[in-house]
């Protein structure tokens, strides 16, 4: 079967609106009748990805691919890139600015959460060019 593709633009600088892509994706996944746990994990990853793109990269694009056995989320931005991926993956490490922190973000749990709730995760990044974070969530048969 052909893969279902969903694309959601994520606006930069708007932390209040972050979560919109996650909500929209969630409704579609529910209409497909996917297992609740899969939907929950996908939406947590999507939300964290959205927040990351809003805080660090002035927005970007979230792409979702769904087929019978997995969901792939791909978050693409043209932000500053991640100089040290290993460090960024550590829980509690964050480079978020004071505005984001005031709103309760920047706890350094974004990427670690995406790792925790997904089955596979890859980060392609280049300083000054941007970042692509891809996570895979398998759908149990």
């Amino acid at each position: 079967m052909e893969t279902i593709k969903l694309v959601y633009p994520v606006e930069g600088g708007d932390m209040i609106e972050a979560g919109e892509a996650s909500s929209k994706m969630k409704l579609t996944l529910k209409k497909l009748g996917l297992p609740q746990d899969v939907i929950r994990r996908a939406s947590i990853c999507m939300y964290e990805g959205e927040i990351n793109m809003v805080i660090h990269a002035d927005g970007g694009e979230a792409e979702v691919e769904v087929d019978m056995d997995r969901i792939v989320l791909r978050m693409t931005d043209t932000g500053p890139g991640i100089p040290d991926v290993e460090q960024a993956m550590q829980e509690g490490y964050s480079t978020a600015g004071p505005t984001a922190r005031e709103l309760g973000f920047g706890a350094g749990m974004g990427l670690p959460n995406m790792k925790r709730y997904s089955d596979e995760m890859t980060i392609e990044t280049e300083v000054g060019k941007g970042t692509v974070v891809t996570v895979v969530i398998k759908i149990p048969q």
Partner: protein
Amino acid sequence: MSMRHSVVLDDRRCRGCTSCIKCCPTEAIRVRGRKATILPDRCIDCGNCIRVCPHKAIKSVGDALERLKEFSYCVALPEPALYTQFQHLDDVDIVLNGLLKIGFHKVWEVARAAELISAFEHECVLRRGRPAVTPQISSSCPTVMRLIRMRFPKLIDHVACTILPMELAAILARREAEAETGLAPEQIGVFAIVPCSSKVTAARVSQGLREPVLDGAFAVRDVYLRLLTPMRELERVEPHSTAGALGLSWAACGGESAARASEGCVAVDGIENVIRMLEEIEDGRLPEADFLELSACTQGCVGGCFNVENPYAAKMRLRGLMKGLPETRSSFTLQGPAQEIVRRDKQLQYLPAFLLDEDREAAMAKQLRIQALESHLPGLHCGSCGAPSCHAFAEDVVLGRASEDDCIFKVRARMRDMAGEGGADEYLPAPFRRQQPLHHD
């Protein structure tokens, strides 16, 4: 069991204007043949369409008060929101005495039942500590419960185990009436007086109880009109009210959570806000919350679509009525095994109204067709097809509820084919024309 919604359309008044289709939080309304129609599986009785209809064609009807004649003894269960509808009312007993003049033989306040539910919840928290599943979600708004069952199935386990206050009131009132009168159960009519359409539906089909416990529900506004004169002409006011400030407070959003007296309570009113909150809870974004009071209506039950007074004024009056009242006035409490009647006796079931197909592969195939069709639609969400958005229209076509030709843009393409390039514009209304120069003189 088929849904017996209380929200109905008056075909003579409906002009097919499409105002309602866009305000429906579950996309449950379509316009067909110049008349709005409700998809019954999707409707959650929130009353948004009733509030927005410019032709007053969408209504919710409570039972007719004439139904009191079917019974030899009738009990009124007034919801506390009823008390907030009267100007300069300083004593709830005036309302209760009024009810006894218009055909009821006994009153049993829903606010009292609310206090019993609060006491039960409070004791559960004391005895067992923080519940295993948090946050708990209040089960007091039938619209919110239906929304959760339809769109947030993962949160069904979070919904509190208690029945509606009016249901508890009905059970207890019927028991009392049977004991006091010695009449057979079928001779006793138990009727709630409710502020919203969803409670009329709930009186007909309970979400939490296998057997119905109410004989019907009257709309606040219908009872209000009947009450005005008798309330004015009361010669003396007998004391009947035993509800305290705690029970009354349930009429406004925030009252139920205040009664719980715990810190992690969140009170949310308005259906759109409720949906946003449920999205967050579903993703685990509010770990510190332990109780959510969610009301579909603005300001809670005082904002119900059956009320006469606006929600803000009603809330002001509620504060006035609560002033000086002790938290609770009734010495009646439920102890030990008797407390079990506050619990649901059936599980809340998932309602698959949004599911494209039972079979996942078929659902995915339909999703692909929906997206393919949607990509050729204009994305204006003009409503001319009768659906609330281009996406909903694409879904309707794929699910067999609409034809592709219902889209005015598809029609335009056909007209252009017939009339030649540009010719179709003349036949289209301004928003749909390809070019529309605006002249400023």
